[in-house]
């Protein structure tokens, strides 16, 4: 379950990480089970990632993360791999929406400037702050509505809960 304060180990990447390197196009039309999707996460950018990622790890990147195709798997493969939070200077718009709607917490700030791979950062969603070894970075707090989506694990479970279904 998602926490409003989350501490995790960092995987650090640069600008313009596109959806093809996050989740290659050749898998998008195969209906792979979650653990197999996780095995391909970031395959064409960092082959070590899928082997060594731990539950709760945090991906921290530069600008325009998730640019390219609208495929929702580019979010869900990271979620299935155990990533707890995504932080980037900016996200491609559809990726940003997909992330929240798939229940993966997402933060826009420049934390990438204050952290090196393998270090820990703490994200406080209530205060809208990321604490890094070399400074604190603010982001606009998420609305209660979005918090609700994340707590329920994504948009569809959220809507079901809200409407009192199952």
């Amino acid at each position: 379950m998602w926490n409003k304060v989350h501490t995790g180990r960092v995987w650090k990447y640069g600008d313009d990480v596109n959806t093809d390197v996050i989740y290659p196009g050749k898998y998008t039309y195969s209906d792979l089970p979650p653990e197999e999707m996780a095995n391909h996460a970031l395959e064409d950018l960092d082959p070590e990632f899928a082997k060594r990622v731990q539950p709760g790890d945090i991906v921290v990147a530069g600008r325009n993360f998730g640019c390219g195709s609208s495929r929702e798997q580019a979010v869900s493969c990271l979620k299935h791999a155990g990533v707890g939070v995504l932080i980037a200077k900016s996200f491609a718009r559809i990726y940003f929406r997909n992330s929240i709607n798939q229940g993966l917490p997402i933060v826009q700030c420049a934390a990438v400037e204050g952290v090196e791979p393998g270090e820990e950062v703490t994200v406080d969603f209530s205060l809208g702050k990321v604490l890094t070894p070399r400074g604190e970075y603010s982001f606009p707090p998420l609305s209660e509505f979005v918090m609700g989506i994340l707590e329920d694990g994504g948009l569809i479970p959220h809507v079901r809960t809200k409407l009192g279904i199952g």
């Binding site: 996200f91 491609a92 718009r93 709607n101 979005v146 948009l155 569809i156 809507v159 079901r160 409407l163």
Partner: protein
């Protein structure tokens, strides 16, 4: 501090006095636009477990992508959409032949100033030409809007693009927006709301403003908008009985960027394969052999576009090795073009007229290309494979440039024929 258009439109819908960029608000959109993907969305909607669409009045459903159906699969998809429409009592349904969703939406009075519109199509921002805040969303989200009647939206940062100067002969809205996209890049306006303003925009027809807003998606923008004026109101007259209220940016609004473009020296522009920001003056690619010329789509399939094309092609003949495809954006546009004799002019010149819809633009039917072929098109995307063949090339240009190119059989500066 004043508010930008996007801030004001979203604050108003969310019932808030003030919002800031980055803030997430929950709104009840005025309209939800879906097309041939309605059947897929309805499937997700049923998985949620809801029986009835929360606010069926906001649904606007237009079958446009592959119409009439090209295969049994497409036909079944349309059938499922019609059943969903009947079952849910959705009244704003426009079946095969009515036109492209982004054209039909305003024609039927569903795109009004101050509205917040979401649509499961990336070119939903087209409705910004009427002073609406209009953004594309995913299928899952569209299903959730059907189930709940609401959606979360992030308040975007805003760009203000001021266009001035005397627009030269042979230069149109398409050339202006291609030039801007070439300048800013394919992600140059990612997640931004883009406000178009200045004397050139004020002078522009509503149809030309739609060209600008349609193409903001090609620089990553969430929405594009032109402030409503007398032209907007005249265009909307008789199309709706709903009273609407203009939402305009405050003069002291705070923009992330304000840009000024003087188009006084602009020449006709062309986007080369395979990205929309790969833009050069037409003179740089003039002489490229053209197999197919295509005038239409939600970008440039309106009456003024065919008037310009007819002005160039009337009394002449399309080059023998070139196919010219004409695709009015809606039944209304087709009827107007028929009434003006434009269809006769174009067909006499050798054009093939396709029924209103998305047609060849997305490469699913009607005008698919062969390996090695070149199309010059008035559409909004030239991605590899977009028109059904990954080994073909698409150049994007204005209707005038496409018409002139059809005539000579090679990419041609339209000013030679004006």
């Amino acid at each position: 501090m004043g508010l930008t258009f996007a801030e004001k439109a979203l604050a108003r819908k969310a019932g808030l006095e003030q919002v800031e960029p980055g803030q997430i608000v929950t709104v009840q959109p005025d309209k939800l636009l879906t097309h041939d993907n309605t059947a897929a969305i309805a499937k997700i909607f049923r998985e949620i477990g809801v029986e009835r669409v929360a606010r069926p009045g906001i649904n606007v459903i237009v079958l446009d992508h592959v119409v009439p159906a090209a295969t049994e699969g497409h036909a079944t998809n349309h059938q499922q959409t019609r059943r969903f429409v009947a079952e849910q009592g959705i009244t704003n349904f426009y079946d095969v032949g009515e036109g492209i969703c982004h054209q039909v939406l305003p024609e039927k009075g569903h795109a009004l100033p101050g509205y917040v519109i979401v649509g499961s199509d990336s070119h939903t921002p087209t409705a910004g030409a009427f002073g609406a805040f209009a953004a594309g969303i995913g299928r899952t989200e569209a299903a959730a809007v059907m189930a709940t009647g609401e959606i979360w939206l992030m308040v975007p940062h805003s760009f203000r693009i001021v266009v001035k100067g005397q627009v030269p002969r042979g230069v149109y809205a398409k050339d202006i927006i291609l030039h801007i996209i070439g300048d800013l890049g394919a992600d140059g306006a990612d997640y931004r709301s883009v406000e178009f303003a200045g004397p050139v925009i004020e002078e522009m027809s509503v149809a030309s403003r739609m060209v600008l807003c349609n193409m903001v998606a090609e620089m990553g923008a969430k929405a594009g908008v032109v402030e409503p004026d007398d032209k907007t109101r005249a265009w909307l007259k008789g199309r709706t009985t709903v009273s609407y209220e203009d939402v305009c940016a405050d003069p002291d609004a705070s923009y992330e960027r304000v840009m000024e473009y003087d188009v006084g020296d602009l020449s006709p522009q062309v986007a080369r394969p395979h990205t929309v920001d790969n833009v050069v003056p037409v003179t740089q690619v003039a002489g490229t052999r053209v197999d197919q010329a295509f005038i239409g789509t939600c970008t440039n399939g309106r009456l003024e576009d065919f008037e310009v094309a007819a002005g160039i092609l009337r009394g002449r003949e399309v080059a023998p090795h070139t196919r010219l495809l004409i695709l009015p954006a809606s039944r209304e546009v087709l009827l107007a073009a028929l009434a003006e004799g434009i269809v006769t002019d174009l067909v006499s010149a050798g054009a093939v007229v396709l029924n209103p819809g998305c047609g060849p633009c997305l490469g699913a039917h009607e005008g698919v290309m062969a390996p090695g072929e070149v199309t010059v098109s008035t559409a909004n995307r030239n991605f590899k494979g977009r028109m059904g063949c990954k080994d073909s090339e698409i150049y994007l240009a204005s209707p005038a440039t496409v018409a002139a190119s059809a005539l000579t059989g090679e990419i041609t500066d339209p000013r030679e024929f004006l």
